[in-house]
């Protein structure tokens, strides 16, 4: 299944769950995957050796694959980050532009840049109905 493929490693590495809003100045750091059951606010930071999943609005800074894993991904219910990092790649929000996607998205490294796509891919979602 495409979903499992996208979240490569979510099954076999340890995962920590964080419940609630991660507010400005707060941070979570873990060697495996991190799942946040809430928002990550601007000024908050999540660092994970593996993947990061945010079940709310991601407005802060997230670093996935922090030990160098370029396969790591970041998924959020709403992806509006200040900055995303995957392994050694950095993507920041476009200056001044407000872009409000109305669906979950996934960020991953492809051909040396961080790309963001709908998650799950819209084609697949239609296919299921």
């Amino acid at each position: 299944m495409a979903v499992q493929h996208a979240l490569n490693g979510l099954n076999d590495s340890p995962t920590v769950l964080v419940e609630g809003i991660l507010r400005s100045g707060q941070s979570v750091s873990f060697e495996g995957n991190v799942v946040i059951l809430g928002d990550v606010n601007p000024g908050a930071q999540v660092t994970a050796g593996g993947n990061v999943v945010v079940m709310g609005v991601l407005r802060g800074t997230v670093h996935a694959g922090a030990a160098g894993n370029e396969q790591a991904v970041i998924v959020a219910f709403r992806l509006r980050p200040t900055q995303l990092r995957i392994a050694n790649y950095i993507a920041r929000s476009p200056d001044g532009e407000v872009f409000n996607p109305n669906q979950p998205e996934i960020a991953r490294v492809r051909d040396g840049i961080v790309v963001i796509e709908a998650f799950p891919p819209s084609g697949e979602r239609q296919g299921k109905k």
Binding site: R23, S24, G25, Q26, D39, P42, G43
Partner: protein, 265 residues
Amino acid sequence: MSEVIVVTSGKGGVGKTTVTANIGCGLAMLGYKVVLVDADTGLRNLDVVLGMENRIVFDLTDVIEEKCRLRQALIKDRRFEELFLLPTAQTKDKSAVTPKDMQNICSQLREHFDYVIVDSPAGIEQGFQSAVAGVEKAIVVTVPEVAAVRDADRVVGLLEAKAEIRDPKLIINRLRMQMVQRGDMMTLEDMHDILGLELLGVIPDDEQVVIATNRGDPIVINENSLSGRAFKDIVRRMLGEPVPLMNLENGEGFFNRLRRIIGLG
């Protein structure tokens, strides 16, 4: 049952002292016994805003240093029988008051008052940490600006982590109605999205607040002002009354959105 509440914000100058003075007066006007504690040692303002500066003989630091008894440092308001101020020192710094001192003072005060309201200094360092040490509830004040909301968010996290104060209430101060109408200001929805706190009230940006403050008469005493009414409504909400947010703008949609945020819609 008495309530011990801190008014805090992270960012400076957003209206903590103004809110403390007005809520205090508003509660005293309804007959509650209230003491306001100035925790902004070295930069005290609460005495000035309440028009009590000239009556200070002893202060919080004198109580801590056992130069006087707590009761001797309390100043009675000239307007309201049941309103008192515990001023702090202007000539010392934040190190004069420790978290332990504040715990001690607050637990003594709560024996004698319905409401103990602590005016916190700006920042998140020593002064803030002392201000929140003896309280169990918090009101977070912000203004509709990204930086202030960011600092408020920081403070909400610290209140929970350091003082075990959960679910503080939010007051949004200095809302400029024309700017909101033009779409040039953060909306209440924007702020609610980030902070996720219950909204205790919204106070318009109002020059009457400044005039009243300079006179030493908090605006809540003034029946006719919009901001005075906003403070009265806040006091009633603190007492548990479901008071709808006043229509600060003529747009009906805006008003309905407010109702939704405050949980009345």
